[in-house]
Symmetry: C2
Subunit: 264 residues, 2 copies
C-alpha cells in the first residue's frame, strides 16, 4: 500500500474562455468536493485543517505570467495532484482517480476533458531505501515549477535559502511519515553544510482572483544545492528529502498550487 | 572635504590581448602600487589589512561570462574605484586621480588609455542629510552589477537575503563612518520589516586566474526590497545605507571587484 501518490492529469478545455491565472484554489475546491461524495468526514477534516495539508495541487499549468489563463480546445493543460498520507492516498487512488480517467471534470466552472492520467506512487520506506546503498552525488538540482515562497519570522521570503527549502521538506516528512529519514541531526547538517552552487531564478506574481488587489510573489527557476559533507548517511537523507519534495512541494500555500518542484 | 569618492574610468585597450575575466585583483594591485609611490606606509597598511578594506575596485567591466576577457582597441571598458575613508579619499583625489587623467595605466600587464574620468564624492553626513526630510519610497531597487555573495556561518551565500545585504552595509557604515545613520535599532528593523518584493537574479562563476581550479560564485541581477515599516526615521536610515552601498559595495571580496551595486 503506497503512502504517497502523484497523479498527473492532461486536460483539454472543451471551449474557449478565460479564468484567473492561478487555479490552485479551484483545484483544491474541486478535489474536496469530489471527496465529499465518497467520504464527507475526511473532506471536511481536510477543509478545516490548519497548517500543512497532506495534499498539493499544481493548478492548471502552464500558468501565464499575466492575470488571466486562456482556455482553448487546441491547448491542453496539466494538473498535478499529490497525496502525502496513506489514508488519503488510498481513497484517492481507489475512490477518486478511477472516476477521472476519460471523464470530464469541472474546475472553476470550466469543463475539461481528462485526456490522460499518469500515476506514480511510493512509500516513505521506498524513499529511504532508494538512496541507502547508492553512490550519491553531492549536488541536488531543483526546478521550482510554480512560484515558491517561505514564511519566516512573519515575513514572506521568495528565495531558495537551503535551510528554508530543506527545513520545509524535513518538517513535512516529520509531519506525515512514520519512518525516520535516517539521521537525527539533519538540521545541523542543513545549517552547516548545504550551500547553493548555481541558480537562475526570478519572482512571479500570484493573485488567485482576477483584478484582486491582494497578491503575493514567489520565485521560479532552477537551483543547484551542494553538500560540503561527503558522508553517505547525510547524503542519503538529503536525497530522500529531495525525492519526497516532488510529492510534498515546499514552502507556503502548497495546497493552492505553490512550491511545486522537480528534481532535475 | 569628502569622506567618500567614486571614480569611474573609461579605459581603451591599446592592443588586442586576453586576460582572465575577473581583473578585480589586478586593479587592487595596480592601485596599491600607485599609492606606494606617494604614501608607502598607507599602501602597506591597506595591503596587510584584515577584514573589509576602505576601497573597492570593480575590475574591468563589462566582464564576460566565460574565463577570458578579450581586450580590443575598438572596445572601451570601465573601471570603478571607490574609497570609504576620508584619508584615503583625500590622497586618492589629490594624489592619484590627477595622474590618471589622459594617461596610460597598466593593469594585469596591459596598457590601457584613460579616455575619461567621472567623479562623485560625498560625506557621511551628506548621505544622512539627503534623506532626512524627503518623502521616501518604501521600495529600494538594487542592480547587482558584479557577482555578489555573503559569508555567513562559514558558508558562501549567493542570495540577496535582506538581512545579509543591509547587514553588510550597516557593518561597513559603522566601520568607516563617525556619523550615525540616525536610528539605533536598525538591525531589528532589518530583520523584521524588510522583505523582497521582486527579483531576477542568476549566479555567475568567478575565477581570478585563467584555468584555476578554485572558483567562487556570486549572483548578479536586480532586486527590489520592500519595507513593511512606514516610519520616516527607518526609511531615511535605510535609503542612506542604500546610497552608501554605491560606494561601499556589499558582501565578500569587495576590494577584488565583487558586490558592486547601483541603486536604480
Amino acid at each position: 500500500m503506497p503512502d504517497l501518490a502523484r497523479i498527473m492529469l492532461t486536460l483539454r478545455p472543451t471551449h474557449q474562455d478565460t479564468v484567473p491565472a492561478w487555479t490552485g484554489r479551484a483545484a483544491h475546491a474541486w478535489f474536496l468536493q469530489a471527496l465529499q461524495h465518497i467520504n464527507p468526514a475526511l473532506s471536511e477534516r481536510l477543509h478545516d485543517m490548519q497548517g500543512v495539508k497532506p495534499m498539493t495541487f499544481s493548478g492548471l499549468q502552464p500558468a501565464p505570467d499575466g492575470e488571466l489563463l486562456t482556455l482553448h480546445p487546441a491547448r491542453p493543460l496539466w494538473l498535478r495532484i499529490t497525496t502525502l498520507h496513506p489514508d488519503l492516498t488510498n481513497i484517492t487512488l481507489n475512490g477518486l482517480a478511477p472516476q477521472w480517467e476519460g471523464a470530464a471534470i469541472t474546475l472553476h466552472d470550466q469543463p475539461l476533458q481528462v485526456e490522460s492520467m499518469a500515476l506514480e506512487t511510493a512509500t516513505y520506506s521506498d524513499l529511504v531505501e532508494a538512496f541507502r546503498h547508492k553512490k550519491l552525488r553531492r549536488y541536488i538540482r531543483f526546478k521550482f515549477i510554480t512560484p515558491t515562497f517561505f514564511k519566516s519570522r512573519g515575513l514572506q521570503i521568495p528565495l531558495p535559502s537551503p535551510e528554508l527549502v530543506f527545513g520545509s521538506l524535513l518538517q513535512r516528512w516529520q509531519t506525515f511519515s512514520t519512518v525516520g529519514i535516517g539521521i537525527d541531526d539533519f538540521k545541523d547538517f542543513m545549517h552547516q553544510k548545504i550551500t547553493i552552487d548555481q541558480h537562475n531564478i526570478h519572482t512571479r506574481k500570484i493573485s488567485f482572483a482576477r483584478g484582486q488587489r491582494g497578491y503575493t510573489r514567489g520565485f521560479v527557476g532552477e537551483v543547484t544545492f551542494f553538500s560540503q559533507a561527503k558522508e553517505q548517511a547525510y547524503l542519503a537523507a538529503w536525497h530522500t528529502l529531495a525525492a519526497f519534495g516532488a510529492y510534498s512541494s515546499v514552502g507556503a500555500q502548497t495546497s493552492y498550487g505553490l512550491g511545486q518542484i522537480e528534481v532535475i
